[in-house]
């Protein structure tokens, strides 16, 4: 009796002592499952990140093929601080091309996102109202999204060709543009719109699909109740549907936002940053340093872009309480 009592009392302790090694392999320890991925991701994201920081503090001497420590010089080439009496501490751009790239990127992100979101919402609402063949339409609208960005850019290069392009010629016919100032080429005033066309073509379907998924999840009784109570279509949309879609829209916008910062493929194929830097996004500007073997500056711009993307994404996640 006394003996068995001892065993019972000691049971948890005995269990704990039973070879912690064996318990690891039984899979009750979360790290048993997580270790492979963590090792892999540390190797492939932390090491490059540290190396990137190192690169951004160095300059590559192309003649001697060595790195020379330059401290914050790469950073001050881009950005500087200025104290002035009216505004206090102010961040100034020391590199006009960098300033231009920031401006282009902001324009691109804001306009592309707004247009995609609006178009996506409209198309999703149309498809959700059950036209004939809604299922097939939903399946087909995926196609632009899964086309390789390179192929899509190539295809739009032909469509926006200043001479033979169908889109360009349609714009000439409607008098929206002239042959002296085409969409792609000329002084480049409209080139960013050309790049955005691909973006919108490819990624509006993303919003369509996500919003449709959200609309499917809405309780139909709610719509019926609103209809019985005499809510108009517009009221139902703005007072019921959109507020209930908030969660879904939040996530869709998060993903597009982060990806829009990184835009480079389209620019690479369609305009190569030109004409006159009118389509030079931050990503592409970083890439131009890469081609010149100026690793230090390329790393600095890359880090800048990464910091912007991370801060945006995680602030967004905190503000809108996105959960995984």
């Amino acid at each position: 009796m006394a003996h068995s009592e001892t065993i019972l009392v000691r049971a948890p302790q005995i269990a704990a002592e039973t070879s912690s090694r064996r318990r690891f392999w039984s899979g009750n320890n979360p790290w048993f499952w997580l270790t492979p991925a963590i090792i892999f991701m540390l190797a492939y994201s932390v090491i490059p990140l540290i190396y990137n920081i190192y690169l951004s503090l160095n300059e590559f001497n192309t003649r001697k093929k060595t790195f020379e420590f330059v401290g914050g010089e790469n950073w001050t080439n881009l950005l500087g601080f200025q104290v002035n009496t009216t505004n206090g501490l102010q961040i100034v751009f020391n590199d006009p091309r960098f300033a231009n790239a920031v401006g282009i990127t902001i324009q691109y992100v804001v306009f592309a996102l707004l247009i995609q979101l609006t178009l996506g919402l409209i198309i999703a609402l149309l498809l959700d109202a059950r036209p004939f063949g809604a299922g097939i339409m939903q399946a087909l609208i995926i196609l632009p999204m899964v086309t390789a960005p390179t192929v899509a850019s190539m295809l739009f290069r032909l469509l926006t060709h200043p001479q033979f392009g169908f889109i360009s010629n349609a714009l000439y016919t409607f008098g929206l543009l002239t042959r002296d100032e085409p969409l792609i080429g000329g002084t480049g005033r409209y080139a960013l719109i050309g790049v955005m066309l691909i973006e919108i073509w490819q990624w509006t379907p993303f919003f369509v699909l996500i919003i449709l998924a959200g609309l499917k999840g809405l309780p139909p009784e709610l719509m019926e109740a609103a209809e019985v109570d005499g809510a108009t279509w517009w009221q139902r949309l703005t007072h019921i549907k959109i507020p209930l879609l908030r969660g879904v829209l939040t996530i869709a916008i998060l993903f597009r936002l982060v990806d829009l910062y990184k835009i480079v493929d389209y620019v690479f194929i369609l305009t190569a940053g030109g004409p006159g830097g009118h389509t030079e996004t931050l990503s592409y500007y970083g890439y131009t340093f890469f081609t010149k073997a100026n690793w230090g500056m390329a790393a600095t711009i890359g880090l800048f872009l990464m910091i912007v993307a991370w801060v945006t994404a995680f602030a967004y996640i905190k503000i809108f309480k996105v959960r995984w």
Binding site: P36, F40, Y44, S45, I142, L155, V258, L305
Partner: protein, 318 residues
């Protein structure tokens, strides 16, 4: 009320009128949505048909909808391996010889093979690593779990231009540029965060009771995972795999930096096809581009249902 006052129960007529109105509305709706859809699909149609037209027809404006003189010449070079010089005369007629460089480079089968190898192997590694990780994130609450999720997300949010530069320099030192293992590992790391969080959402859909029942019956947790849970998550694994394959197939910047000439996936090869200054040969480009698009269009059929979930890393259940 009016009908009741007159004493004639014409509610049937009222109903019929309403049905008719609804039908008309639905037809208008169908027409409008189809038109919008056609705008989105037209570029694809245009591109695929351009690969079947003789050169002068590609440039005719407005582009004809029908194929008047379909030609398989571009395709015979692009996937059939016929000689470029022989074919250019067929499609361009008198204009032959205007083409720039890349005259032998339009044969895409080797690039498609590379894409397949890189995509296939990297996807297999991704699934192998992501499945246990996703399981743990779904079943356990280790300390700092949210931080781990943020860490995984942060790799997804890192711009490609940032990540690829140090990789390129490290690869150069390791002599990994232009090697299969280097490119495969890079593609693995691109897809890993997506696959982990996507599969976590699939594991979340499977009730915990299932693991617990198996463990009560004497399985270890690992045994329960291996024998039971994995069978329920298999469709999710397949969906994640196909999505990773598609992302790897379309990936551009990493492959551009990390390869030179030996190993080129199809998007990167495409970007080199028109690097010549001597006029872009759109027919060949269209055929090569279509050859790159078609496999993805077929893959997507299998995962259409999970696409939303995949693109949002499991945050939105489609």
């Amino acid at each position: 009320m009016a009908s009741a006052n007159r004493g004639i129960p014409n509610w049937k007529a009222v109903q019929a009128a309403q049905h008719r109105r609804q039908l008309v509305n639905r037809i208008i709706l169908t027409v409008v949505s189809s038109l919008i859809l056609l705008i989105f699909l037209y570029p694809v149609y245009f591109w695929v048909t351009a690969s079947l037209r003789p050169t002068r027809e590609i440039f005719s404006l407005p582009p004809p909808l029908a194929l008047y003189e379909p030609t398989g010449s571009y395709w015979s070079v692009v996937i059939g391996g016929r000689s470029y010089n022989e074919v250019i005369r067929e499609v361009a007629g008198a204009n032959a010889g205007t083409g720039g460089g890349g005259t032998s480079g339009y044969y895409v089968i080797p690039f498609l093979q590379t894409s397949m190898i890189v995509g296939g192997i990297s996807t297999a590694i991704v699934i192998l690593i992501a499945t246990p990780t996703a399981y743990a994130l779904s079943r356990f609450q280790p300390r700092g779990k949210q931080n781990l999720v943020f860490f995984i997300l942060s790799t997804r949010f890192t711009p490609a231009v940032t990540a690829v530069l140090p990789l390129f320099l490290l690869y150069k030192d390791l002599n990994w540029i232009d090697t299969y293992h280097g490119l495969i590992l890079a593609h693995t790391v691109i897809n890993l965060p997506i696959a982990i969080l996507l599969m976590k959402s699939f594991f979340d859909d499977i009730p915990q009771d299932l693991d617990e029942a198996a463990m009560v019956d004497g399985c270890t947790r690992f045994g329960a995972f291996r024998r039971i849970v994995i069978r329920y998550v298999a469709p999710g694994m397949a969906a994640a795999a196909v999505l990773c394959l598609i992302f790897s197939w379309n990936e551009f910047l990493f492959t551009l930096y990390l390869t030179r000439s030996e190993i080129r996936t199809i998007p990167v090869a495409m970007s080199t096809f028109d690097s010549s200054s001597g006029g872009t040969e759109w027919g060949f480009l269209a055929a090569a581009g279509s050859a790159a698009m078609i496999p993805v269009f077929i893959f997507i059929l299998f995962v259409q249902r999970h696409l939303v979930r995949g693109l949002t890393m499991g945050a939105v259940r489609g």
